[in-house]
Symmetry: C2
Subunit: 124 residues, 2 copies
């Protein structure tokens, strides 16, 4: 798959909330996932598809999603970006937050090999 | 200019450090610039080209840039994204930092009408 096709398919699946399917279908087994900071689900850097699956599961279990707006992909050569806006309640604290982030993906041989998340501070 | 041309020109100018020329040439006079948090140069949201020029001047005066890596643009419909890595010393404190950010731009009628910055935390 070309980078643009990977990008479009990822957005299509994420808009439907099918994040696990996206991982299964589009992610390299050697995926590297980079969060801005280490979190309760693990360190800032997660390597390998099993770790990324666990991180996604942790996120789903701990957040109630009220709304999600996912942009069309912005596509470059072997990389693409997606802007995401979520309104979620973090279940352990009951706190409702608006999150705005950019996700940056690198693609090699039709698979996503790296994802990195960039945040806009909540409440800023 | 098409979005892709605006994107390529912005990257070309930023790579040469010609940020003021980029503002003059590519920004709408009604530009809205959104930082993750309010900073010493002003609030999180700056409206209008004069405010954005002042913010750029403040940044240049207060930071010594050791290296800058600016990605090719990732282009969507009426929007694009650029990944930037800087190593800078913030002159007032003498602290040297690595910054990784995504910038997200909206384009209307050949001009950049909104820029928003998303950060990866330093040291994460």
């Amino acid at each position: 798959m070309a980078t643009e096709d990977v990008a479009n398919r990822l957005v299509q699946l994420c808009r439907k909330g099918k994040n696990k399917k996206a991982i299964d279908e589009l992610y390299s087994k050697d995926i590297v996932s980079i969060e801005p900071v280490a979190g309760p689900a693990g360190g800032a850097v997660t390597e390998g598809i099993e770790g990324v699956r666990k991180k996604a599961e942790w996120w789903e279990e701990n957040n109630e999603v009220h709304s999600a707006e996912i942009s069309k992909p912005m596509v470059g050569r072997g990389e693409f970006a997606v802007r995401m806006e979520y309104e979620v309640t973090f279940k352990p604290t009951g706190q409702r937050n608006k999150m705005v982030e950019m996700a940056h993906y690198k693609v090699k041989k039709g698979k996503i090999v790296e994802e990195q998340f960039f945040y806009h501070m909540p409440g800023a």
